[in-house]
Symmetry: C2
Subunit: 417 residues, 2 copies
């Protein structure tokens, strides 16, 4: 066993299960007698030399991470550019790694993080510093290449399907004298994966959600409103799920039409659901309610998918195994081996294949009319939300873990980033 430390960092938007991946990483490393440092607030902490000594945490706390949402060490939105453009930053990163005897660097994030890890590995080779860089997949957007699905997505998808089903039962009960249309706004700026997951809330043509709006299809207002009217006439009410990223045929985001500035010049924060609800009210004269779950959908550990949790833990453990085996510039990925019954295993892929690619939803997942999902989409999505993985509760609230996050003593001059 080589001596040295392992550095783990979380990047980008957090999820209900990214801490489960951290739990997998730290648990596996402990079993192999490797010390894990964590960067505070993602790559920024690595640049600032703000490191956390995870060996100060109890075994119970590390196990507890697996049922705790958010990012236990802090995350960040901070993108390193190309080696050429950002060379000073990459070199500083290498300095910090070297100063703390970091031999394995695990970067837990999306496309950008895979790219960053890849570049760090190249620079280390150039400087002849013995470092193994591993990307660890994470994103509720489900848009990473190669892997069959992304840890974090399944839980957000389950939240979405369950919430839409529940709200639909409410609307169904109220529709006779009150709310007839309900609009749910799902995250997904570029791809409609979460909006598609809402489709699992129902099965028959009269089941909610009755209409799903995907960023993959242009938003046609007249057609949309006509369909809402038809569904209300036929079913008595209409549940709409709209992806935040829907655009008109000429490429304008509908979210930008809602909101904006009011007549006093004050910011009006709206979004897609707010906009669509306004249209339904104005154009169809129907009573409408709408919801913007926002962060609730990606932090809802209380309704996490067991499949997702298992995969989040597994990629964390696999990342440590890949790291210690010296599999530089790779990422553990999830490979689906069967649909029914669903089976998966952990495989690995070169970071190069993952970095800066974006996985779109296959065209075959969208119904021909563009307002719903196909059987193929169901076959893909359904196993990902399967299984419940409840956190423990104390006094009615999930007993989420707070770490000590003990700082590692700095050894370098302050970073002037």
């Amino acid at each position: 066993m080589a001596s040295g430390n392992l550095l783990y960092a979380q990047s980008g938007g957090v999820t209900a299960v990214i801490n489960a991946t951290a739990s997998g990483v730290i648990g596996e490393a402990r079993a192999r007698k490797v010390k894990v440092l964590a960067a505070r607030n993602g790559i920024l902490g690595a640049l600032r030399e703000e490191l956390i000594d995870t060996s100060k945490e109890s075994a119970a706390a590390i196990r507890g991470l697996a049922h705790t949402p958010g990012g236990a060490f802090g995350s960040c939105r901070y993108k390193l550019k190309s080696l050429e453009a950002d060379r000073a930053r990459y070199e500083r990163l290498l300095d910090v790694l070297r100063a703390h005897d970091v031999r394995w660097f695990l970067y837990n994030g999306g496309n950008d993080s895979a790219d960053t890890a890849h570049k760090v590995s190249q620079l280390a080779a150039e400087f002849d510093y013995p470092l193994t860089c591993i990307g660890v997949p994470k994103t509720i957007d489900n848009d990473l290449a190669v892997t069959d699905c992304c840890p974090g997505f399944g839980s957000a998808a389950k939240y979405t399907a369950v919430s839409v089903r529940e709200a639909a039962l409410d609307v169904a009960a109220m529709a006779e004298t009150s709310t007839k249309v309900f609009v749910y706004e799902a995250m997904g700026r570029h791809a409609g994966w979460l909006a598609a997951a809402a489709g699992l809330a129902g099965e028959g043509p009269d089941d909610a959600p009755h209409l799903i709006l995907f960023p993959e299809r242009p938003y046609d207002e007249a057609d949309f409103l006509a369909r809402v009217r038809k569904v209300v006439d036929r079913v008595g009410y209409c549940v709409v799920v709209a992806s935040e990223g829907i655009q008109t045929a000429d490429g304008r985001f509908v979210a930008d039409a809602g909101g904006g500035k009011d007549s006093f010049g004050h910011t009006q924060l709206g979004g897609v659901a707010s906009y669509l609800a306004g249209k339904v009210k104005d154009e169809l004269g129907l009573k409408v309610h709408w919801t913007l779950p926002d962060y609730l959908q990606r932090s809802a550990r209380h309704i996490a998918s067991k499949t997702d949790l298992d995969q989040a833990l597994a990629v964390g453990k696999a990342a440590v195994r890949l790291a210690l085996a010296g599999r530089n510039a790779t990422m553990p990925v999830i490979r689906r081996t069967a649909d029914k019954p669903y089976r998966w295993k952990i495989d690995s892929a070169p970071l190069e294949q993952v970095a800066n690619h974006e996985k779109k939803m296959p065209a075959g997942f969208l119904r021909r009319d563009g307002y719903g999902i196909t059987a193929a989409a169901r076959r893909y999505l359904e196993p990902l939300i399967r299984g419940e993985a409840y956190p423990p509760y104390r006094n009615g609230i999930p007993a989420y873990v707070t770490l000590k996050n003990a700082p590692v003593k700095k050894k370098l001059p302050a970073w002037k980033g």
Copy 2:
């Protein structure tokens, strides 16, 4: 045992557990060999003679109601006025009850429903028709008089506390480089019960939610924004929970300031969280996210409170016992007999004491500065969200029950309401 049927109707906004009350009603009535009819869409179904024969439902379906949110028979927003103003409607109601040999009428709702049940009982006496009217409590607003708490509130409160806790962990992880302020909009037009429940998400002064805005206290924008700034400076981020009903000192709803019409005359649906988020962005220049859970908070059976579920079932069963005992014009209520450990029992109260009263939050529940809850509020609220009562799942989605809702043959001429 007197012969005759029992009529059950659901009224007003539905909850995560109103069907549990229905399950209690039907289960208890079946055990006592009494047939239960249900009105389709609440009191409207009774007026229209649109009745449902619940004896066509299996025992499993009736048990399943206890884990199914929404209103299984449909609800309505339809208020009967005074006996004088709406006498024809009350008489029609009595005609329908008589035509279907209804000897017990159970009306499951809030203040208005208690009032309606009370008036129906008066009229029945006047016409010498042997009817026992029982009000059955239900509302997420927790504003019914006499009862210690209202079935439906505890589950919405648990949803609120859990969601705020989870979102806060997300914001805490992102705050260094991204979202610094998060605003959560809670239901509660007249009283801040649900906003108060959010207070259970944290304990210490630096725990989220950092600021709660109650309708009981005037909204002072300058003071609010100054406090947001202070919390961000001290903690690094700020989680705000705002009741939809907050008003400025001169009595204007803040929700009406957000939204309204845009400069093209189109409806802008906003609300309180949208408005506050806009102010935080414009005035403080901080990155902000916000959520409007809307119906999700009252239909989230997946995160129902066990205490709430038990009480919803219990008031349903008690209502049948009161009815069969001829306790006309009463309501089963929840009486708290101890705080620690929490104990409660079912008692009864005259509908007159419940009807048209609104229970406000005690002044002692609000912190002196008006932005948080006191220890007394915690003592009251905490038992109400305690315990988990998960529904069964099928393929990753709760296995909610759909009833057959077989119609009862009409006997009367159509109602020209």
